[in-house]
Symmetry: C2
Subunit: 203 residues, 2 copies
């Protein structure tokens, strides 16, 4: 007798949305129950406590949230600047999504009091390694100055997020950044990065 998987996911999705909106402490189990339908007893059949439910939400989401960002990075026809610009726009657009921002706020807020931060960091590092692999290939091909590819990957991301992400995270703007603003940010990040990693032979 198992509709349970579907129901479990439904509870998870509902809870996750409310956690994002209200934060951990301000979210009540009754509220989640009301939004998900059913009763509190059912809720507690699936998750033994509020803490565990929250954790499950976070784990679930770190698995799904960042995927798809690196699509098209391996297009052999595109040159390095084009690939980076395309990746930059895609990633930045995803990172500035209200959902992702809210999730990041949650993770950071609870990082000091649970292992969730570590988990999140490991997940993102996995993506950074993908980017690093791409950069290493470009370095080997002579398209970029040789150096530590993982460090270069982090620097690229840093340049991408430079000003725009903190503003969003702090809620300094009402609306998410426009498509134009994202393009601009990605472009200047790519420009700076390519200058910093121009192959020496180009001098």
């Amino acid at each position: 007798m198992r509709k349970t998987d579907q129901k479990r996911q439904h509870i998870l999705d509902t809870a996750y949305e409310i956690f994002r909106r209200n934060g951990f402490e301000k979210t009540t189990m009754s509220e989640i129950t009301a939004a998900a339908g059913g009763s509190k007893a059912t809720l507690y059949n699936y998750f033994p406590s509020k803490e565990e439910l929250f954790l499950a939400c976070m784990v679930d989401i770190t698995d799904h949230l960042l995927e798809g960002i690196f699509a098209g990075l391996d297009d052999p026809k595109a040159d390095v600047p084009t690939s980076l610009l395309s990746l930059g726009k895609t990633a930045l657009r995803a990172l500035c999504t209200p959902e992702l921002l809210a999730s990041k706020r949650l993770v950071i807020a609870e990082a000091a009091r649970s292992g969730i931060g570590k988990l999140f960091h490991e997940k993102t590092q996995q993506y950074m390694r993908e980017l690093a692999a791409f950069l290493r290939r470009a370095m080997d091909a002579g398209d970029l100055r040789k150096g530590d590819p993982l460090q270069a990957a982090y620097q690229f991301r840093a340049l991408l997020e430079a000003d725009i992400l903190e503003r969003c995270l702090l809620g300094a703007e009402e609306a998410p950044p426009s498509s134009a603003a994202i393009s601009r940010a990605a472009k200047s990040a790519v420009t700076a990065f390519l200058r910093a990693y121009a192959p020496e032979s180009a001098l």
Copy 2:
């Protein structure tokens, strides 16, 4: 009968420390009272509510927290790389302090539900403008490639924080980064920045 200023500050300091340690919701007014000495009635004589007390802590701290980072930026004897490296180390060391990390977590966590994020962002932007002014002078002197100084300032900060700050913010390491790690991070940030902003004449 006014010892009130001193007492008020004492309450503020105590509350701030507990907020940092436990977060907003998990901190109780009774706990603050016990730590600060005195009684809850006194506490409520100084601050009308928990929310206001928290806000007052945050405002108080954004005023004091970032100051002193830019000391020595205007040393006329130092060249640009030296100045940037020195600033980078100082700033990074301050930013990775447990107190500042905890504060940043608090601000980010509450950013969605109060104006505190905006306030914090404005304060930091004020410091970024100082850095931008320095960079503009360097650009005018021909020591750096010309460009938008404020954007360059944000990019420098981004390179500084590149990998190390998120790891700290997410609690991915137990200990704050070693002095050596900070030096390394600052150095690679300065290197990348100087390559990206090398004056065209140097080519």
